[in-house]
């Protein structure tokens, strides 16, 4: 549900009142619905190199209305700025200032996407050149600032190329589709690094997970249930996992997504094996594991007791490590497997009263980074998604004033939905994301804290 304030200011008289008083003016975000076009309105591709040309012709094949030059006053669906040939900071001026002239023509919920090379890339000698690294790193500050300037649900995100990936590598195109679409509604001011030419675009863009078997932990409610629904919508067969005590909600989710329910405490020693056995015995294979299960036991560190600390570490990170060990050792997790973990912006920026939780979520990001090379052997990938303020049963319990401030403190001036987190996870779990691994993608509307 869109929050009441956002509903109020999205039409008159609320819109006029908010404008006159200088209040936040969040809009109802464009979110993906099956059958919807990728994006409406022309897509302006800026950049003069071969990378830009190749990308523009690929987009034409997607039946997009591609422009290489802006037509004044024409409302644009998206601007893609290809900056893959930057060698010096001075090179930024021309493409960036050209794009600037079109910013006022962006339609509501439009997209600005940069495609540039990663500032640090051991596979690319040019990254070692100080001027080149400066130019590349400059894109980071530029894009994050631009994202904060955009209005009316428009977002700006960047794709970084590394490890030999080009502007038309499968995962570059996959990430581009994700950022253009309504699937990335609550992702703003973020970068995704494509670190290899691995990955494969789906035969059917509406069913990118067709034929896949996915396991979602903590799926009885909230974000986990939304992940199960989204994976199912994208074509996957879903196994939903939660503690036995949540079995009734879990059964309802399983029946809704036509999957199977596995009542399992993920902190059990044999949890990984039981997940593998269930998926393989019932559904013949296991392709995707989503580590979503997590708990909070908030206390100021001065008041922290052993059980609060231990239980959060046990569920949020120790269980994921143990399950991953079982997955990495299994013969059944070898065909381009995908792991996506749910981290948190608390693990990046910190949060008062959440030392245990933030330690566990920071741990998730460390685990993802170190596990990536272990999975790449089998064409696999592992990534994390870090949600910001998401409208769930959990955040609904936050006192009104605190909640109202928390949900407005981002560039989109509203809270995200569980489905927004699920969309990012579904993308990272797809074949198209095979060239993206060890990454943490924030789904936070560019939270002003820690972003």
């Amino acid at each position: 549900m869109t929050d009441k304030y956002t509903q109020f200011v999205s039409r008159s008289p609320g819109r006029d009142i908010a404008r006159k008083l200088g209040l936040p003016q969040p809009v109802v975000l464009r979110r993906h619905k099956p059958g919807q076009p990728l994006i409406t309105g022309p897509v302006l591709v800026q950049g003069t190199g071969t990378g830009a040309d190749e990308l523009a012709s690929t987009l034409l094949a997607w039946d997009l209305d591609v422009r290489r030059h802006a037509v004044p006053k024409e409302k644009l669906g998206a601007i893609i700025v290809v900056l893959d040939e930057l060698a010096r900071p001075e090179d930024l001026a021309r493409p960036v200032l050209t794009a600037a002239t079109s910013l006022r023509d962006l339609a509501p919920n439009a997209r600005v996407i940069t495609v540039s090379r990663a500032a640090s890339d051991s596979a690319d000698p040019a990254a070692a050149d100080p001027a080149s690294a400066a130019a590349r790193q400059g894109v980071d500050g530029l894009l994050r600032s631009l994202a904060k300037e955009l209005r009316a649900g428009a977002t700006a995100n960047g794709i970084l190329l590394a490890g030999g990936a080009g502007t038309t590598s499968p995962s570059t195109l996959g990430a581009l589709r994700f950022f253009l679409s309504g699937r990335s509604a609550f992702v703003d001011g973020q970068f995704l690094t494509v670190s290899s030419a691995e990955g494969q675009l789906p035969a059917d863009a509406e069913k990118p997970l067709a034929g896949k078997v996915a396991v979602v932990t903590g799926a009885a409610r909230g974000i986990g249930a939304a992940i199960a629904r989204t994976l199912r919508r994208d074509g996957a067969t879903v196994v939903v996992v939660d503690i036995p005590a949540a079995g009734d909600h879990l059964a309802a989710v399983a029946n809704e997504v036509h999957g199977t329910a596995l009542q399992l405490d993920i902190t059990r020693e044999d949890a990984g094996q039981r997940i593998i056995d269930h998926a393989v015995e019932r559904h013949g294979r296991l392709d995707i594991v989503i580590h979503n299960a997590g708990i909070t036991r908030d206390k100021l560190l001065a008041n922290m007791d052993q059980s609060r600390w231990d239980s959060v570490i046990a569920v949020n990170i120790a269980a994921q490590l143990r399950i991953n060990e079982a997955l990495l050792g299994s013969q059944h997790f070898r065909e381009s497997p995908r792991i996506v973990s749910v981290a948190s912006t608390s693990g990046i920026a910190g949060n008062r009263g959440q030392t245990n939780y933030a330690a566990s979520k920071g741990g998730v990001m460390g685990m993802v980074r170190a596990t990536a090379p272990l999975l790449s052997v089998h064409g696999g990938s592992i990534n994390a998604v870090a949600p910001g303020f998401i409208e769930t049963e959990m955040t609904a319990k936050i006192p009104f004033a605190t909640r109202e401030i928390a949900r407005r403190l981002n560039s989109l001036q509203q809270g995200g939905r569980p489905g927004d987190v699920a969309e990012a996870i579904a993308f990272l779990a797809s074949d198209a994301a095979g060239g993206i691994s060890g990454e943490v993608l924030r789904v936070c509307g560019q939270n002003l804290v820690g972003a």
Binding site: P244, Q263, L264
Partner: protein
């Protein structure tokens, strides 16, 4: 007619026929016509009969009456149990061969209880269903009936179940009021109507609440069992010990995660609310007798060693081996055979709940088995005294000779194999739901046990029922 497997053609049966239990079995079914019912050859002895396998089960936690499920109807609970089963095995929109379930305490409006529950569940609306009622044996009888249909090839998949709510029990109007209301409906003129209404007396307005009394004796089930308990000289200590073991075993099963894939929480309940993990023999010894008090000092039956009224529902997924394989589902155990018996409790020949004492010897004999060939005994604990009276009868030489037609006592069971994960004294007993609880749990235990001495592990289920009836069954590990 073959009664002990001599003519059995299948490989399993011929193995069994080659090793009959020494001196037992032959002639049992006809030795005591008064206690017997007509027996035909069991399905397991028919040629070319395929197997019926138990895929798994699901139940909701059982709740003491007036507790968590006070506002839940039989249909609510049965639907919840079905939906949990569907979720566990991915049966959404599946057209199941047939669903059979029932309730003992049933509203007249629930004439199609099971079909209505199916329609409210995630199963295909094209799944047929029927209701069955055989008192406390309802749940086990649905398993046996549906297993037979699978064995005969009439259906490939089935869900058996049962549900009962003593909280949401039907209350009927008195006979006097009922007759007046019916006559009023038939009356055509105002004077006729007034004349009918004038027959109404204040006492007609008091409702007719259900009870557990036997219509032909007026005695409650507990009072009947008290007579049997005294007859077999079962001590208070022995009954309390059985109750204690039931609670201890059930608590351990929960702690070990045994029910993780057998149960789905409902209305905030995650365990059976009757379970007292912290009970002790000392605590049980402090309880005052509630049944058999007219028997004077012999009263031994307390609220601790009798099952309380309970609400709950259970389901069991049955299938042919081919259907289970085609759906990538587990095959935990097979339904080998079943038997029903009834006793003449009205004239006091046998105790009300003693029918299984006759059914089990007949069933084992037909299958060429003895008590020693059973690895798990699941004897429903209506009362601790029921279980102990049954065991005492089997150990009694005279009962064996005169009532079972054997050379001596039927036998003694290894108590370490009895109700090893707890039974009704701890879990509670929502009448029709008990059969499904036991079948699913036993199937899981047998599957874990696998093989014993080169043959599949075997389990025996015994359930007593009102009206002097009993239904028993043998399951085998698949």
């Amino acid at each position: 007619m073959s009664v002990n497997g001599q003519s059995a053609p299948g490989p399993k049966e011929s193995t069994r026929a080659a090793t009959p239990p020494a001196g037992k079995g032959a002639g049992v079914p006809t030795a005591e016509p008064a206690a017997g019912t007509a027996t035909g050859p069991a399905a397991s002895h028919l040629p070319q009969v395929r197997r019926a396998v138990i895929v798994g089960g699901n139940r909701i936690p059982f709740a003491r009456t007036g507790g968590a499920y006070t506002k839940s109807s039989n249909q609510d609970m049965l639907t919840a149990a079905l939906d949990g089963l569907i979720a566990r095995f991915g049966l959404q929109d599946e057209r199941i061969g047939e669903v059979a379930a029932g309730a003992v305490l049933k509203h007249s409006r629930d004439f199609n209880l099971t079909r209505e529950a199916v329609l409210g569940s995630a199963l295909s609306a094209e799944t047929p269903a029927y209701d069955l009622q055989q008192a406390c044996a309802t749940g086990l009888e649905t398993v046996l009936g549906l297993a037979n249909k699978i064995k005969l090839g009439q259906i490939d998949s089935a869900i058996a179940g049962g549900v009962d709510s003593a909280s949401d029990a039907p209350i009927a109007v008195s006979e006097g009021l009922r007759e007046v209301l019916l006559d009023l409906n038939r009356a055509k003129t105002l004077p006729q109507r007034l004349q009918v209404l004038s027959r109404l007396r204040p006492k007609d307005l008091s409702p007719d609440a259900p009870n557990t009394g036997e219509p032909r004796t007026g005695l409650s089930m507990g009072e009947h069992q008290a007579l049997t308990t005294a007859q077999w000289k079962i001590t208070r200590e022995a009954q309390d010990e059985l109750a204690f073991n039931s609670h201890r075993n059930l608590a351990a099963a929960y702690d070990g995660g045994f029910f993780d894939d057998l149960l789905t929480p409902y209305r905030g309940l995650t365990r059976d609310s009757n379970l007292r993990a912290d009970t002790s023999l000392e605590k049980l010894a402090t309880l005052k007798p509630v049944f058999g008090k007219s028997l004077g000092s012999a009263a031994t039956m307390t609220a601790g060693n009798s099952t309380p009224l309970t609400d709950g529902a259970s389901t069991v997924l049955l299938a042919s081996e081919e259907w289970a394989d085609a759906h990538d589902l587990p095959k935990l155990a097979t339904v080998l055979d079943g038997e029903a018996a009834a006793v003449d409790f009205v004239h006091g020949k046998d105790g009300l709940l003693m029918a299984p004492a006759f059914a089990v010897p007949r069933l084992l004999a037909r299958n060429g088995l003895s008590l020693d060939d059973i690895d798990f005994f699941e004897i429903h604990e209506a009362f601790a005294g029921t279980v102990l009276s049954t065991l005492a009868a089997w150990e009694d030489e005279e009962f064996g000779r005169t009532r079972l037609g054997l050379d001596g006592a039927f036998g003694t069971i290894d108590r370490s194999r009895l109700n090893v994960n707890g039974s009704s004294l701890a879990a509670g007993h929502p009448f029709a739901a008990t059969g499904g609880r036991i079948v699913a749990s036993l199937a899981k235990m047998l599957h874990a046990k696998g093989r014993v001495d080169g043959r599949p592990a075997r389990g025996l289920i015994s359930i007593c029922a009102a009206g002097g009836q009993g239904v028993v069954a043998i399951l085998e590990a698949h």
